[in-house]
Assembly symmetry: none
Homo-oligomer: 214 residues x 4
DNA sequence: GATGAATGAGGTTTCATTCAT
DNA sequence: GATGAATGAAACCTCATTCAT
């Protein structure tokens, strides 16, 4: 609506596109090379820009990092909302349905890479860390806690561990992120790992799990 | 005693000391700053040496990294041998006794830092990665697999997940390493986390676990 | 005129000027100090630039050397084409007219310095050596060989030495290059040396030569 | 004689041997690498010594260079004495007999390498240059001048060039030194070159020269 | 005398950042 | 807005020289 501009001057649309190209290029570099080894020149080139232009959008490399990562967090990547389980749905089934996408959907790899990046560089960027915590982590932890409570109240597990330490539900996600990064040659299948993990928690027998997979 | 000297020249003993000082300084820097941000000059200074002296021991920064990290692996840090469980000892107890030290003993923090370091820089140092895998990881995975088999054969768990994916037993270790690095202000207690995790796997009730803790 | 600008950014003209300034500065340093003792910082300063700018034009000191020297060879310095002798022109006169400029013209000193440089550093820069051979040396040798053949066919000399070993005609050039470099205080006059040399070859009497000089 | 020493203290003999080993090692390095690229450590190692020991003999790298090169000049390498020609011996034959060894005897290569070294580094070491001039060059030039005078007085050549510019007689020596250094793959035979050169000067016909070679 | 660990000045090279066009 | 040449601080690494043993 208020987006109409008088003809002269820079087009806000083109600017937005450029910004997007920069972010994409920068994220890719940061993910694959880390912060220190990423060169501004490469980001600019990847984005199809001259070096100086990059500085019109981000005044320093640190700002580029913070901007790109937090924008990514603000974007669609990390939204997580738990729809309620069916009345009689076993919690195992519900978790598979609700949380598995976190490690299997099309953005799963990006999500994992982002996590590794924040793990590596987070100390230097406290604001990024806070944003990540708030936007990406806390909602998932809250969901995990509710799941733990539901499972215990239904007698599916005995322990209150998931309520006290909800991050335990994410442990296999962290594990697979690390493992597949370190040993891509013998990568684990995230869905298999996650399902097996839940099988352990809910003490499902082998035969059941395999049927379930089917 | 058997220290036969070739009469003249500097002492080989001092050399060993110097090497040790370098390694300690370098490891500390690498752990706290990462590879790129660690400067040779700082390592030298931390070790009480001039820049050039460092290069008498390690010809490049890469060599310093590889040398220090693999030496650390070869040292006492990562040794892991599983003593056999008692005849009737519950697997839960056995695991707590046998594996818990990995996350709680005095070297646990160093071990965790080393893991993070290899996670961050491993891609650039394939040999370090291979060494880590062989020395630190595989023995623990083999132990985890045996534990999983024993637990299933004794009917303590239903799933064969730990046999197929033994790294699942390490998941809370990975989790706590990452968590405490990212959020030192709300650090998790590794022993609590590990115990709770095992409680989930072996479906121990809350009261039991809490008694156990006592 | 045909200088179509892509509208924005720095001028390609200035770049060419800078390149020229670098080459001039570098060549001067290399000639007077040799490769090893030439410091990049000095080249940069001589060219009126900061250190880093030099690296925009040449990525290493080796590349600077190769670039500057081969460009020099490609330039006007070493071109040599033998115009044909007059029908009845004595070969002695012809050689004086045709080859003497190699040691007397305004570029003679540069040519000599370049030769000394390639002599000193050529082993480390095989490509420079090859280029020098092809561009500067072979054309002159071919001319020398033709001159030798002509002189013998006209009975001016008896020996076929110049045809088999045409570099002999260049011997005094090499000599004067070395001599004047080593003993600038008692420098030889290249034209005198060359003329005297030819006098020896063509067995001219003193009186004749002196008349010729006149 | 006066060399007898009281028993205690360092053996002057061993010292002399060590000095000789150092000189040999240093000269080899200087010849093959040049002054700048020669490292003291390598010289020491080549001489079978520790770095520090080298400094007991020569206090700096410059001193090592000067010492080694001038000692070499003082040694047997560059002595040159012209025995008188036979009464009726053609000057061509005499020169071949008297001067050819300069480019063909067993020390010829060393002599050539030394010349190249002094050519490259001489500017930085004026004393070396002076010594070389006095010890190696001037005697040969004086001989060349006498040879030129004899040849002219006997009518074998017309020109007085060799008397005025006696270094012309050495031109092929300089030439072959340079050529074989630059193009070892197509090295010239020094004796062939020198003989051919003299053939040109004394205007010997091809057939004669070839007979002479035989 | 001999050693080689230690030193640090000095050189090369990189790259985030600026700014005239 | 966009460009990329220019800058120079900062890092890596080398090697002549010293000196305690």
């Amino acid at each position: 609506m208020a987006e109409t501009r008088r003809g002269r001057g820079p087009s806000p649309q083109k600017t937005a596109e450029t910004q997007a190209r920069i972010c994409e290029a920068a994220l890719t570099r940061f993910l694959s090379e880390g912060f220190e080894r990423t060169r501004m020149l490469d980001v600019a080139r990847d984005a199809g820009l001259a070096k100086g232009t990059l500085y019109l959008y981000f005044p320093t490399k640190e700002a580029l990092f913070e901007g790109v990562v937090t924008e990514m967090l603000g974007g669609a990547v990390e939204r997580f909302d738990l729809e309620p389980p069916g009345e009689d749905e076993p919690t195992l089934d519900f978790v598979l349905r609700a949380m598995m996408p976190l490690v299997t959907d099309e953005q799963a790899e990006l999500r994992q890479a982002l996590f590794r990046l924040i793990l590596s560089e987070g100390q230097r960027f406290p604001e990024v860390l806070v944003a990540y915590r708030k936007v990406a982590l806390d909602p998932v932890l809250a969901a995990a806690r509710r799941i733990g409570a539901r499972a215990r109240s239904r007698g599916e597990i005995q322990s209150d561990a998931l309520e006290r330490l909800p991050m335990l539900l994410l442990a296999p996600g962290v594990l697979v992120t690390m493992w597949n990064h370190l040993f891509p040659g013998e990568a684990l299948e995230p869905s298999d790992l996650f399902r097996s993990y839940l099988g352990l928690l809910f003490d499902e027998a082998d035969s059941d799990r395999r049927r379930g997979q089917q």
